[in-house]
């Protein structure tokens, strides 16, 4: 069982950063960490691969960033491919998917796992775009995955509950947060991760045309950035044992009781 997990390295969400007014993209000149959303996919892959299988990572990030990849390697993944290339600046979700799909295809995996969406960009389209580009079947929003021979059996989140979905391998599955409990990297794992192979590749290495990615490849452009109308703060009171009465009175005023 050869599993590839797509991981994104993002600015720390506790410090969400800002848009660069020049380029109209997220400022990324800060240290990047593993997107917490991806820790579930890494954990799921490690559990599904067991002792026999291999788990490798694919990521696209500027400036040869590997901070987030090292975290996932410390959890137990064996190796990583990092696509880092100045030509990728300004890439939209579709271009990102093209780059990741090309990098994933190099290892012909049985299973590709991704998060449902990243925590910083959250377009939520990249996993399905990767599947389409690789001509793979897919099951998105998995809340449970089991492998049965050459078939993935997935419980897929729906508006009203879940669907049981069967999908032959190779395929792509995107997993929701909380689907498994991600392990904390052990000290041994952290030390071992430093020696694990991270292969850095460029757009040209993947056989893609630099003129078709980045700003040039994006079929959309930002027209304007504006402050949204702000919502005013109301009354704030300190609880002195009777705040619940104020809430009841407020609900009464709104006539919802």
């Amino acid at each position: 069982m050869n599993i590839v997990v797509c991981v994104k390295q993002i600015p720390d969400p506790a410090d969400p950063g800002a848009l660069d007014p020049e380029t109209k993209t997220l400022k990324r000149d800060v240290k990047l960490i593993l997107d917490e959303s991806d820790s579930y996919g890494v954990e799921m892959a490690l559990q599904l691969a067991g002792d026999e299988g291999t788990v490798s990572l694919v990521s696209m990030a500027p400036n040869s960033e590997v901070g987030g990849l090292r975290t996932a390697l410390a959890m137990g993944a064996e190796s990583a491919v990092l696509v880092s290339d100045d030509a990728l600046k300004g890439s939209d979700a579709l271009t990102t998917a093209k780059v990741l799909a090309a990098a994933i295809a190099k290892s012909s995996p049985d299973l590709v796992i991704a998060a449902t969406e990243s925590s910083d960009g959250y377009t939520g389209t990249v996993p399905e775009q990767i599947a389409a580009l690789m001509d793979l079947p897919s099951v998105t929003f998995a809340k449970e995955i089991a492998l049965d021979g050459g078939t993935a059996k997935v419980k897929r989140q729906t508006e009203s509950g879940y669907d049981s979905v069967e999908c032959p391998l190779p395929c792509l599955v995107s997993v929701t947060a909380g689907v498994v409990e991600p392990r904390y990297p052990s000290f041994k794992g952290i030390m071992a991760a430093k020696a694990k192979p991270v292969e850095e590749v460029t757009v040209a290495d993947l056989g893609l045309d630099a003129g078709s990615v980045g700003w040039a490849g994006a079929g959309q452009e930002i027209v304007s950035i504006e402050d949204a109308p702000a919502r005013e703060a109301g009354e704030v009171i300190e609880d002195e044992g009777d705040a619940h009465e104020r809430i009841v009175a407020f609900l009464d005023e709104l006539k919802v009781l």
Partner: protein
């Protein structure tokens, strides 16, 4: 890009059309003369309902026999575009199936998707979508640069559904080309999780809990209060990530967008991730022990206090009223 025909991805369960579909129809009518629904199922089942909301046609695939909506609808729409019978733009809700459709279709047409749209306008001769970033404090407007079919993923609750009183939409058959290996996933069974209250994104009152609850079994307080108020329980991302409640409870940028008349945030600090999913509520009540919590910046009534003291008393007071 001319904009004469818009398709809306239709979603329904048991013959009831989803509110997101009706919301999209309301906006589509403002933008184009011809508005049709593309539907992965029996078109006759929804023709009256979508017709009443302004759709003149339903392009229906018929029963998909367990095939996934995403790959089926994308292949069908791409074939229609190829044949010259497709739309100029397609509006898709940010839902589980909607995102699959948008992702697959984007690859089929080699066209970008503008995502997380909360407002839409025609500027010059192109569609421009508004996307909130940084928890909704900044709006980014994005337009398409090419002349391909415009694909937009629109967040639920962005527009208000409004009937036009139109007659049933005309149903046409939309062929689904053979999807090959990519279409091999099949739904074998569907499970509806029983819930005795309203759905999270439709409830008039939402009570959400966050990390400030301290431990997972304290979420019971959130559920009790929601039940007393005939509302729905929700959650911040922090406690979904921690595994206290399922992903389906999550309110926020990742998760559900809610616009109830009353939103009660218990032990939620108000990370930007959360605010973008609930700041559209008509009234917000927040209980948090940290007076500096960002949630107080948007709350109509803020209680600086311990949820473990305030919530039980509130529940007791409401129970006493019957």
């Amino acid at each position: 890009m001319g904009l004469s025909k818009i398709w809306v991805f239709g979603e329904a369960s048991d013959g009831t059309v989803a509110s997101i579909t009706l919301e999209l129809l309301a906006k589509a009518r403002e933008l184009a003369d011809t508005v049709e629904v593309v539907f992965g199922g029996d078109g006759d089942a929804i023709a009256a309902s979508v017709g009443e909301h302004g759709a003149t046609g339903v392009q229906a695939t018929g029963d998909l026999a367990g095939a996934m909506q995403g790959v089926s609808i994308a292949n069908a729409v791409a074939a229609a575009v190829e044949a010259g019978t497709g739309p100029d733009a397609i509006l898709i809700g940010t839902t589980y199936d909607g995102r699959d459709v948008a992702g697959r279709l984007s690859v089929k047409l080699d066209a970008p998707v503008i995502t997380n749209v909360v407002d839409l306008e025609v500027a010059g001769d192109r569609l421009v979508g508004t996307e909130p970033v940084f928890g909704g404090v900044t709006n980014v407007k994005t337009g398409f640069t090419g002349d391909k079919v415009a694909i937009l993923l629109v967040r639920p609750k962005s527009f208000t559904a409004e009937p036009t009183g139109g007659g049933a939409a005309a149903v046409s058959a939309l062929a689904v080309p053979d999807g090959g290996a990519a279409a091999a996933a099949k739904v074998t069974d569907r499970f509806v999780e029983e819930s005795d209250g309203p759905k999270l994104d439709e409830a008039a009152i939402v009570v959400s809990g966050g990390r400030g609850l301290g431990e997972s079994d304290k979420f019971d307080m959130v559920e009790s209060l929601a039940k007393l108020l005939k509302g729905a329980p929700g959650a911040s991302r922090a406690i979904v990530d921690a595994g206290w409640v399922p992903y389906s409870y999550q309110v926020g940028q990742t998760g559900k967008v809610v616009k109830p008349s009353v939103y009660i945030a218990a032990g939620i600090s108000g990370a930007t991730q959360h605010l973008v999913g609930m700041k559209g509520a008509a009234n917000i009540i927040a209980i948090n022990k940290d007076p500096e919590a960002p949630i107080f910046g948007i709350a109509d009534l803020g209680i600086v206090g311990d949820v473990h003291k305030v919530m039980p008393k509130l529940i007791e007071a409401l129970e006493a009223r019957g």
